[in-house]
Amino acid sequence: MAWVNAIIQGILTGGLYALFACGLSLMFGVMKVVNLAHGDLAVIAGYIAIGVITVTHVPVLWSVVIVVPVMAVLGYVLQRTLIQSSLDRGVLTTLIVTFGLSVVIENGLLQFFTANSRGIGAEMTLVTGSFKIGSQIEIAYLLLLIFAVAVAVLLGLQYFLSRSKYGRLIRAVADDKEAAQLAGADYRHVFGIAAGVAFGTVALGGIAFGMYSNLDPTTGTDTILLFAFAAVVIGGLGSLWGTLLGGVVLGVAQQIGAQINISDELLAGYIVFLVVLVLRPQGLISRRAQP
């Protein structure tokens, strides 16, 4: 039963990882930008949520209503300015620029908010509560909620990309941005919208992680970005549902590793990551090859 419990916990944690990963995957799929500041942006979102809750005393979950739009706007603005101007100088430049952004954010957070770790809404029953199935399996309300949110986000993204006007434009621009220009679409604007959506999802990831665990200025790179990368690579680059599958595989591997030896949790996740990279570098769900 302990093993079954480990697998269930792993699957649920996978939802959290998918929230980290889907924005990273979207930005790479559309703009070919590998956003190395992705995790730090999640931490910023978490800190903003803490600030909003402290100042306005709104319920924790309501902070989402404020933080997600704020991060989406930040995503649009960052894409139209910093990231676009680095893209114009070549894809490699975006790596350096987003790496620099990551360093700046981390050190800025250290400077202004110290290295102390903070949690979001730690006193809530939602954060601490759980229910039992049998004697061995204990499911936390929070993890279940995060998993449900991840599934809802992916469904929403899929609907947005396949049905809406801007979703269609995002896919068109990802295919051929010059042809999109000839159809009258300003690809920079479309890139901005894609980045806004990606930042919105990572804001959810940051808040979820702040409730599930603790945030400190280095969480962004040493946890969120790494897990996001692992989930994207395991699931398959550019595949939306692949991020959930990748997140679940990573989560289950970690939980099974922890079951064997508590100190092997991270190691087990990275071993699976490396095995997938060697045996199936295109990921478990590979995107349809395009002409």
Partner: protein, 260 residues
């Protein structure tokens, strides 16, 4: 530079599109050297020339995808030389690019919808494209990669038409297509012109261009070698201008002389 041609009857109208002394460089290479042309409303103007003559560069510069070194593109009386390609498209300069360039992960209908997103007001819509290309409606949910070359070209034309262009730029429609298919696609041109469009096309297939155009211009290595209406130019003149043989209207160097 160019042999004087008999004056055209349309030449009294105000031009819809004008290119003045256009010079375009690809790096060091001078791809276009002082090209000028005037396209009148409602006409079909064809640019012919061999591979590498600068035809596509000319069309891409008019669409805004290349920045000219000097010279200007004037559309409906306004200088659009500094206007971005997407703004030119919404103002009515719409190009069907060489090689179709459809959105590969989008269905036929989605490709058309992207074309219609920023459309001007006008006679064209997706329904009308379906009426013109009867097969398209049934296959609207297919990915464009599953279509034949001719079908893809039709979708590319449809995608351009639904944005209701004033001038339609057609870049090498015949490229990679069987002659029968090329005939069929050019056979659609009257239906398109009926709606008041103006067409500027680039074509390697000279006989096709001569058949549909009201005026032609021949390019060779970025320069104009012949200009006139198909009725006024002889086959020899076209051949000489196309290949750069002297003795015709061309100003090409004397050492090019062969069997002209």
């Amino acid at each position: 530079m160019t042999e004087p041609q008999a004056s055209q009857p349309q030449e009294t109208g105000t031009p819809l599109l004008e290119v003045r002394d256009l010079v375009v460089h690809h790096g060091q290479l001078r791809a276009l050297d002082a090209i000028s042309l005037t396209v009148l409303p409602g006409e079909v103007y064809a640019i012919i020339g061999a591979n590498g003559a600068g035809k596509s560069t000319l069309l891409r510069t008019i669409a805004g995808l290349h920045r000219p070194t000097s010279g200007s593109v004037i559309f409906d009386g306004r200088d659009v030389s500094a206007v971005r390609p997407e703004r030119r498209a919404t103002q009515g300069i719409v190009m069907v690019p060489e090689g179709r360039r459809l959105f590969g992960s989008l269905s036929v209908e989605e490709n058309l919808k992207v074309g219609a997103t920023y459309a001007r007001q006008g006679p064209w819509n997706i329904e009308r494209v379906y009426e013109m290309f009867a097969w398209m409606r049934e296959r609207r949910n297919q990915l464009t990669a599953q279509l034949s070359g001719g079908e893809q070209q039709s979708v590319a034309i449809g995608r351009a038409l639904v944005s209701n262009p004033r001038v339609l730029l057609l870049d090498e429609l015949s490229l990679g297509l069987a002659p029968v298919v090329v005939q069929r696609i050019y056979g659609m041109l009257p239906q398109i012109l009926e709606t008041g469009l103006t067409v500027l096309l680039v074509e390697q297939d000279v006989s096709q261009a001569l058949r549909v155009a009201s005026r032609i211009q021949c390019l060779l290595e970025g320069r104009t070698t012949l200009e006139g209406s198909p009725a006024d130019v002889t086959a020899d003149q076209v051949e000489a201008a196309y290949f750069g043989l002297t003795g015709a209207a061309s100003a090409s160097p004397a050492d090019d002389r062969s069997e002209a």
